[in-house]
Symmetry: C2
Subunit: 362 residues, 2 copies
């Protein structure tokens, strides 16, 4: 059965290098996770900017805490809900102030059911926060020229602040060429090499940060996890999650190591980490023995495994063996309900940021 | 006394974030290094592409070798000389085939002596391999507009394949703005965020790789050091050396960790590495105890330390305590004569590549 990572499926051509095929985006099929060790749910109504004092308070996780044998659950679903409420308030404020509503455009080509579902969910998410959504649906046999024309129209449309091309595109199209046509000012996916370059460089700021890794870091922030000076291990080096997640952690002064398929001793290296972000798409690959006591674990993987007892015949598990992680980590994201819901929240956040930047609003 | 790293001094604005000030570019003041443990000099006439068999031969270094208590010296001066000979041959071949000679343009503003020396050395290096060099020298009080005009002229000039703006620029100029004016097709320094982004992304290729980190990797290649699957630690995360060096190592399937000023246990992490690249500008910071027996050490630092016995009153040392490294590493670059000479060789290489790309020559 195919595995994936909980990133938005409108990912770039580079995602094809990953050993995963798309299965579910973790947003569509979210359900409340009820695991045997699902304890200590935090109230995610944390301030966006944390003071040192609040970080020190007991509501927050420190990588060295883990005094008990059960990890705190990092509740991505609740955090994402809160972020959407914040976005909603900002959208309203912007509308009141200057009469502008942020807009996200999605281009869908062909009739793939999964793609249609993702697009529908993005539309719904936009509606829920008051962001305008635009959609162009072209037939499977549309020409590349038609897709480029739609992109060009959205590039020129001042009511559109973000553009997504739903992937995969039909095989007769040059995906790279099409994605490159999206103006960098509206590339809310953040996959443009210029954005990645700026993300990598000190003293530069990317226009957009890719949604899934941004969601991972946002979870760490909202749960008060100290990143500066901490050892961080990112498992997986994909263009859409692993690599930008490593760059983000480095921007926050973590000491980062990237573990990948060619790494000879992934367990040993991972066990040194205060913060683990796993994005490989291998069910239960990261066992308890990989985790340092008190580490914080962000699990980006969403892997379907056969489960006859489930009505769907499968259930979703992460890259991390959740039960084992719960016994050793200070905090861990569940799958589903961890990183998944954050991805679409960050997409909305990027769209709002784009609108604010366009209209010079802080 | 100021410290630096052995990178070409025409570096971008981002370099200003580094804790180093410029002192010497390691190319200007090269001299034969004669250290007490300067043993086992290799003949650097290695094939550019190494077969597995040749890698296995005793002429090459493996990270696990170090059976003796004295490291091989990675002779950057000899390798750079060889590369210049190769470039020279290619330049001649290109001229014979299509009548085109690669060209490098340097823009110098003001009368800083060190800048004038660097420019003169680049010019000499170009001459030595048959690359045309162009120079514009503007007065200190030139306007930004005049600099931009010179860049624009070189951008449009088909006989120019690489453009360098010698830094630092006078303080009344917007360095970022000026550097951004160099067309990416001629950005032989490779510092453009688009190049860095492509370097970071799997499946993408940068137009140019920054000269100093490219030189480090070239040394590893030429000395047959296996990178794939190896633990690599890069010390320093500058835009011009550390960060791109880490990206390059990762592209070659090393497992990379980046150690920096916020890292709590740099010694412990560095000691895990099979390959160390140090680019921090701290004299003798990396002691023998930081180095795993048999590791390969690339020292990018060029730090002047007071030395009353020297006619100049100082001598140059690396980030790595050379004498201690020699006792534990499998191979180590000396300072000077290690990475330094490689930087300008890679600048020539980038200029040649640019000309070849322009004229579609493999």
């Amino acid at each position: 059965m195919a595995s994936m990572i909980s990133t938005d499926p409108s990912f770039s051509a580079t995602a094809r290098l990953l050993p995963f095929t798309r299965f579910s985006n973790g947003v569509v099929s979210l359900r409340r996770f009820v695991g045997p060790l699902h304890v200590g749910l935090l109230n995610p109504t944390f301030p966006r900017t944390l003071s040192l004092n609040s970080i020190r308070s007991s509501r927050f996780i420190t990588a060295a805490m883990a005094t008990e044998q059960s990890a705190k659950v990092i509740d991505g679903k609740s955090v994402a809900k809160q972020i959407r409420e914040e976005i909603s308030a900002e959208v309203l404020k912007m509308k009141d102030a200057i009469g502008v509503v942020p807009g996200l455009a999605v281009i869908l080509v062909g009739d793939r059911k999964d793609s249609a579902t993702y697009v529908r969910n993005k539309k719904k998410a936009c509606e829920s926060v008051g962001i305008n959504s635009f959609e162009v649906h072209l037939p499977e046999d549309a020409s590349e020229q038609e897709v480029l024309k739609s992109i060009s129209d959205f590039n020129d449309d001042p009511s559109v602040h973000g553009i997504l091309v739903q992937l995969p595109l039909p095989s007769h199209m040059d995906e790279q060429n099409i994605l490159n046509a999206v103006t960098i000012e509206k590339d809310v996916d953040g996959f443009h090499p210029l954005n990645i370059g700026r993300l990598a460089m000190r003293g530069r700021e990317p226009l957009f940060v890719p949604c899934t890794p941004k969601g991972c870091i946002e979870l760490l922030h909202r749960y008060g996890v100290d990143i500066k000076g901490k050892r961080a291990v990112v498992i997986g080096r994909s263009n859409i999650v692993g690599m930008p997640a490593a760059l983000l952690l480095q921007r926050e002064d973590a000491t980062v190591s990237i573990v990948h398929s060619r790494t000879k001793n992934p367990e040993e290296i991972t066990r040194q980490a205060d913060i683990i972000i796993s994005a490989v798409g291998q069910p239960n690959m990261v066992r308890g023995s990989w985790i340092k006591p008190g580490a914080v674990v962000i699990d980006v993987g969403i892997n379907p495994v056969e489960d006859a007892s489930s009505p769907r015949g499968y259930r979703l598990v992460g890259d991390v063996c959740y039960e084992e992680a719960c016994k050793i980590a200070a905090a861990v994201t569940p799958v589903p309900g961890g990183v998944g819901p954050m991805t679409i929240a960050m997409l909305l956040s990027n769209t709002l940021s784009s609108a604010k930047r366009t209209h010079n609003i802080k």
